[in-house]
Amino acid sequence: MWGHVRVWGGSPCGLAVRFLAGPASGWEAAGRARLEEGTRSQRGVCEEQRLCVSSRKTQKLFSTSSTLSAEKDESAPSKGSISEAVSKSQETTAETPKQKLLDLIGNMKVEVSYRKKLQQLKTRKQATENLEGPASEGTVLQKVTDVQRGKPLNPELVEAASAVASSLPLNKKQTVSELLAQLRRHEETTDKQKKGETVNLRNVISEMAVKRQSPAQRGVRISNRISLELYEDGQRIMPAQSFDSRRSLKVGKRLNIFTKASTETEQALKTVSSPTIWDLEFAKEIAAVTAQPPRNGFEEMIQWTKEGILWEFPIDNEAGMEDDAEFHEHIFLEKHIEDFPKQGPIRHFMELVICGLSKNPYLSVKQKIEHIEWFHKYFEEKKEFLQEI
């Protein structure tokens, strides 16, 4: 569920809302209304953020198998407990779908921001810290929150975050910084969504610096998973391929700027299925250049079979012999002599002709019909003669 939702996070909020299967209740309707209105007052944002925090946390409780949350697994339990505290402290009542969406986006943005941080800071230490785990993440987060976020957070929120952190036995600073960073991300995302930008995740992954191993790995994994979801309606692209070449073309991207996912897959199919003549010629040229003389008898036989010198096994004596007609068209030819008189010697004669033709396996149906037509014409011409007689 997480993965799906993450994908749809970039699309209009309403869509994502529908897909959320989380703790839905009566607020959803209200929430949807609010969402579509798009109230973005500062207060509204704050509320959302507050509620975002809580709902995100609750969501986190439900999530078990998702990349993002997996990567923050260690932080998740802590955050989970935080969320409970937060919810208690803040008395969250309305957990609207909007918040859920923002949570998810925020979560995505968490990944994004991690990488951005790394890129920006560009310190080995940062990378190693990142690798180590949540502790390092926390510190990095902190720095980022200090450095990156221009927009000041709601002081209430900050207070709440610190209250939460203090209520927990864990590293206070870390949790606080994490919470604040998360909130900031929500803001940013909502702003971006307001402007109508698509999900940053893909952009970010495409911008990703490939120097570090772990971020690249993670990015690839995520992009693979995302691309898996995306292609579900169309083809299914082999994730194994992109695993082989970490820096392959298939990593991430799919900005979907122009068209929706399905049409893009169609386009991809189209280009594959209709190669130009030049492509064919090029392919032939390559085959001719790289073709080695046969190394053994089997390869020689293969070559001969391709050229047509050797028959293809199992031998089919009728290979290539096309005759689309069915047996009844060969054998039951009475319908072609309906034009002839029903009685008399002519009919008798034509019946014999038909009998002979039906036993002839060397003529095609067309030829047989032509045969009968010839007789038809002949007798028509001779009709005048016959009538005279």
């Binding site: 012999m321 047996f327 060969h330």
Partner: protein, 275 residues
């Protein structure tokens, strides 16, 4: 000069890589001291080097048992297993009563075509078809020579169409038509006379009439006219006579049949054995 390859060959080499496919005999590649040909006077057959006789003949050096094993192993992936449930001929016949026979022809030539390849033969046992007495007799009459009484096998051979699949369709069509037609009873079938019968039926035959008449006359002469035809028919001696006559007519004349007939006639006419 370069020594032949045979001198460097190990005893346990992989022979299938020396001769992977059918190839002419190469004396430098075959490490066997073969001699072939008509010996000159007071000599021996010529050796293998430059021996045209060895080169002319087809050899099977590429089909040694290990090579064949390798071929089979390679081909196994393309084969499907025989269904294990069909392990006897009877089972095969029970589940698949119709046998289709087609022939493919191989020749060494440029053209792969062979007009004999279009022939399709259908074989089926009439006992596997659901036919009642009348239907069976009618079918046998319709197919005529294509039915073999000894094996109870109906054989339909079709080659009227140019393609094999067309002939197969036509054969199946013929079988279907025969089956359905034999179940139908036309009006004129009631005019079937005694000459058309396949087997001898005693009821209403001349033999029955004769026997009954004779017996009636005997009884009349003895002034025992209460006896009716039905009584006579039901009597033991007449039944005996009937069975012996039927056996004679249907199965032909054998020792057993003749002696049975003799006994039944004696009993019928109440002739005592001669002393």
């Amino acid at each position: 000069h370069v020594p032949p390859r045979t001198e460097k060959m190990a005893v346990d080499q992989d022979w299938s890589s020396v001769y992977p496919t059918a190839a002419a005999f190469k004396p430098a590649s075959v490490p066997l001291p073969i001699r072939m040909g008509y010996p000159v006077k007071r000599g021996v057959p010529p050796p293998k080097e430059g021996n045209l006789e060895l080169i002319k003949i087809p050899n099977f050096l590429h089909l040694t048992p290990p090579a064949i094993k390798k071929h089979c192993a390679a081909l196994k992936d393309f084969c499907t297993e025989w269904p294990s449930a069909l392990d006897s001929d009877e089972k095969c016949e029970k589940h698949f009563p119709i046998e289709i026979e087609t022939v493919d022809y191989i020749s060494s030539g440029t053209s792969i075509r062979n007009p004999k390849a279009r022939v399709v033969t259908l074989r089926v046992k009439l006992s596997n078809l659901n036919l009642d007495d009348h239907a069976k007799k009618k079918l046998i009459k319709l197919v005529g020579e294509r039915y073999c009484k000894d094996t109870d096998m109906l054989t339909i051979t079709t080659d009227r169409c140019p393609l094999r699949r067309q002939n197969y369709d036509y054969g199946i069509h013929l079988l279907t038509v025969l089956y359905h037609e034999s179940w139908k009873t036309e009006m004129w079938e009631s005019e079937k006379s005694e000459e058309d019968m396949e087997e001898y039926i005693w009821e209403n035959s001349r033999s029955q009439n004769n026997a009954l008449d004779t017996l009636l006359q005997i009884k009349a002469s003895e002034n025992d006219s209460n006896v009716t035809k039905e009584d006579l028919l039901a009597s033991e001696v007449v039944k005996n006579y009937r069975s012996s006559v039927i056996a004679l007519k249907n199965e032909g004349e054998t020792e057993k049949n003749m002696s049975q007939y003799k006994e039944s006639v004696k009993k019928l006419l109440n002739i005592q054995a001669l002393p």
